[in-house]
Symmetry: C2
Subunit: 411 residues, 2 copies
C-alpha cells in the first residue's frame, strides 16, 4: 500500500477495469492541476506577489548550495517585506526526523506559509510539512503508513533549483525514515504547490552528476507511464515520446554546456512535464521500476535516478512479451529503429535505452555501486512483499519471484 502512494498521481490512478482492457480503449480519467508556474529568468522576484503580505514564511532548503549560487539572495531580497524563518539541512532523501524538527519550528513560530527552495527532496519535505502542520492525529508518520490523503495542507510555494523529480508541479511526495528503513509515499489534492518558480539560470551551477541524474529520473518517469501496452491513446503516446526525444536531444548539450539558457530551459520544462500528471491520464501505468529502485536506495544508498537506470533495462527484458508493442513503437518513434520484427525492435529499444544512460556516465549494474549485493534480489523481493505487495505493474504481473529475477539480472 505504501508504494502505490509513492506514485505521484494527482488523482487515484484508476486501474483499468477488465472490460477496458479487453476493449483496449482510453481509460476514464480525472485531471486537475492548479499549480501556477512562473517560468524564466528573473521570475524569483515575483514570489512576493504570490505569498500573502501578512504570511509568516518558513524558508526550507537543503545543504546550503543556494547560498553559493545566488538563489538564496534572490529569494531573501524578493521577500524583504515578509517575515521569514529559515530551516536548512533537508537531505537528499528527505528524512522524517529532520522534518519533525522543522515541524516544531512551524508550530513554535506560528508559520503559515512554507517556501521550499531546492530540488525534489526539499519540495517533498515541504509537502510533508504542509500536511503535518494541519494534521490532527497524534503521529504525523501515520500520514505515510496509513496512506492518509491530504485534502488540505498549509499553503506552500517552491523555487526549483534541481530539475528532476517533477515534484514542483504535482501533489505527491516520498519521505524516508532511517530509524525504520522505510521510504514511503504520500499525496492528495491539498499538496499542490500554490506556485513554482522555474528559472533555468539555476541549472548552470548544478554538478554534472546531478544533471545526469535529473535526465535519467525524468526519462524513467515518462517510461513508467508509457511502456505498458497499447490502448490507442495516440496523443498521450506522442506527448510521452516528445519528452523522451527532447531529453535525448538535450542531454549531451546540457552536460557539455549547462549555462546555455535555451538548453537549460528545455531540460527544466521536460522534467516538469514528465511528471505533472498529464501524460499518465487515460493510459495504464507501470511504476514497478520505481518500487524496486526505492528498495535499492534503501539498501545501498544508490542515487534514486541510478537505481531506475539499473532496473529499467532488466524489467523491460523480463516483461518483453507484455511490453513489446510499446517498446517497438518507442524504438521506432524515439530511436528510429525500423529493422526487425516487433520483438527484435523491442530488444534494440532496450539496448538503446541502456546506452543512453551509459552516455550520461550512469552505470546500469548494481555491482558498479556496491560489492555487497549477494542477497540484494532476495532482500528487495522480501521487502516489497513485507509491505503487502502481491504484484506490481500494469498487469499486476510483477510478482515477488519476478522482482527477484529482475534484480538478480541487474547484478
Amino acid at each position: 500500500m505504501d508504494l502505490i502512494n509513492s506514485i505521484p498521481t494527482i488523482e487515484p490512478n484508476g486501474e483499468p477495469s477488465v472490460l477496458q482492457i479487453i476493449q483496449i480503449i482510453m481509460l476514464n480519467f480525472e485531471l486537475v492541476n492548479p499549480v501556477k508556474i512562473l517560468f524564466g529568468k528573473g521570475e524569483i522576484a515575483k514570489i512576493k506577489k504570490h505569498i500573502p503580505n501578512q504570511a509568516k514564511v518558513l524558508l526550507l532548503y537543503g545543504k546550503g548550495s543556494i547560498k553559493k549560487n545566488g538563489i538564496y539572495d534572490q529569494v531573501v531580497s524578493a521577500l524583504s517585506d515578509h517575515a521569514i524563518v529559515e530551516f536548512g539541512g533537508i537531505p537528499a532523501n528527505p528524512e522524517y526526523s529532520i522534518l519533525m524538527k522543522a515541524l516544531s519550528v512551524i508550530k513554535n513560530e506560528e508559520i503559515n506559509f512554507i517556501l521550499a527552495v531546492g530540488g525534489g527532496s526539499v519540495i517533498d519535505g515541504a509537502k510533508f510539512l504542509s500536511s503535518a502542520a494541519l494534521f490532527e492525529g497524534e503521529e504525523p508518520w501515520d500520514i505515510l503508513t496509513k496512506g492518509i490523503r491530504t485534502e488540505k495542507g498549509m499553503p506552500f510555494g517552491t523555487v526549483l533549483t534541481l530539475p528532476a523529480t517533477g515534484s514542483e508541479m504535482n501533489s505527491g511526495s516520498v519521505i524516508s525514515r532511517k530509524e525504520t528503513g522505510q521510504k514511503l509515499g504520500m499525496g492528495g489534492p491539498g499538496l499542490f504547490p500554490k506556485f513554482s518558480v522555474l528559472d533555468p539560470t539555476v541549472v548552470a551551477s548544478i554538478p554534472n552528476r546531478q544533471l545526469a541524474n535529473g535526465i535519467t529520473d525524468a526519462f524513467t518517469h515518462v517510461m513508467e507511464q508509457y511502456m505498458t501496452y497499447p490502448i490507442g491513446a495516440d496523443l498521450q503516446d506522442r506527448f510521452a515520446e516528445s519528452i523522451m526525444s527532447s531529453l535525448i536531444d538535450t542531454a549531451p548539450k546540457l552536460i557539455d554546456n549547462p549555462s546555455d539558457y535555451t538548453i537549460a530551459s528545455n531540460f527544466m520544462w521536460c522534467c516538469t512535464m514528465a511528471l505533472n500528471g498529464l501524460i499518465q491520464k487515460g493510459v495504464p501505468n507501470d511504476w514497478a521500476i520505481h518500487a524496486m529502485g526505492h528498495e535499492l536506495t534503501a539498501l545501498h544508498g544508490i542515487d534514486h535516478a541510478r537505481t531506475l537506470a539499473i532496473i529499467a533495462p532488466r524489467h523491460y527484458a523480463y516483461f518483453l512479451e507484455n511490453k513489446k508493442e510499446k517498446l517497438a513503437q518507442y524504438g521506432e518513434r524515439v530511436w528510429n529503429i525500423t529493422e526487425g520484427n516487433i520483438e527484435e525492435r523491442a530488444k534494440q529499444a532496450i539496448e538503446k535505452t541502456e546506452s543512453f544512460f551509459h552516455s550520461l556516465d550512469i552505470p546500469t549494474r548494481i555491482s558498479a555501486y556496491t560489492n555487497d549485493f549477494k542477497n540484494t534480489a532476495e532482500k528487495v523481493s522480501t521487502a516489497l512483499e513485507s509491505r503487502g505487495w502481491v504484484a506490481l505493474g500494469e498487469h499486476k504481473a510483477v510478482t515477488p519471484d519476478a522482482v527477484k529475477e529482475i534484480v538478480e539480472a541487474s547484478y
Copy 2:
C-alpha cells in the same frame, strides 16, 4: 484591442522583448489552469458531485441537439437533486442579445451556477454570463469593448458536445453582436470552468461537417501557436507537432467512423490540448489567421473553422520568409517532407496543409462560399484597421496592406 483579447490566452500573452528576440530564447511565461477534466464514457453522471448541493443551476444549451442524442437526459438525471432552470437556443456565434435574455433569467431566478451543455459557442456564452452576472457596470457589452478582464465570475461547469474550440479548458470567450456587426473577445482568470466533462460517446452523433470543422479549428489553433520563428523551445514544438500529427492520423478515421470510441477519444483530447494554454507558453504566437477569419465570418457567415482554412495557406505563403524555418520543420516532422531546401520544404508544407483541409471536404477559397467577394479584402483590412489594429502577428508584420493582399489571394 478587441481581437487580441479574442485570443484565448490564460494569462496576458507576453510579447517577446527585443532582447529575447535577439537572443532567440524561450520566453518567460506564467501558466495556470485549474479546470478539472472528467474524461470518459459515463462521466456526465459525476457532475452532481461537482456542483454545490444548494446551487440553483442555469442549464444553458444550443439548438436542442442534446435533446435528440441523449445528453440532455443524462444531465437532467445527474442533477435530479438540484434546482435547474433551462435556457436553450444559444446560436453558433453566441449572440449578445440572446445572452442578455439569459442574463435576465439569471438575475430573476437568482441563479448561482451555470452549466453549459454544448460546443464552443454555448461554453463561450456561459463565460460571458459568468462574467456579466457579477459585473458591476451598467452595460455588460463594455466587458468586450473595453477589454475588461474577468477576475471573478459566477462559477460554471461544462459538458462538451462538440470538440473543436478548446473553450472547455481555457478562460477565453468570443461573443458576437449582430446589431453592431462585432465579434469580440473577453477573458480572465475568473473564466475557467470549474469542471468540464469530455465524454467521447457524444462524438457519434455529430454531423460530418461539424467533425471536419472541429479538426480544422483545432489544427489551426496549434498552427497559430507554432508557425512563427524558431526559438529553441523544443518540447513545445514537439507537443504542437504531436497534436497536429495525431489530428492528421485521426481525421479520416473519424469521418469514416465517428462511433469508434478510441478515435473519438483521441479527437476530443486533441481539440482540448490544442488550446488549453500549454503549447503557447514560452513561444511567440501569431493569431493573425483568426483575426482575418473572424472578419470573413462577420462579412459572409462562413463557418469559423472554414475561414481559417481559407486564410492559413495564403497567410503562410505571404509570410514565407518570416516563417520558413518553422514551416520546413513542420513539413519534415509532421508530413515527412525531406526533399528540397528550406524554402522549398516550407512551400510543400503549405500545400500539404491545404490538401489536408481539402481531404476533409473543406474548400479553401472564399469563392466557394459566396459570389459577393469583390470588396472582401478591402473590407477585412478596413475592419481590422477600424478596431485600432496597426499590425498583427508575431512580428507585428501583418499590416492592413498585408491583410488586403492575403485576403485577395484567398478569393
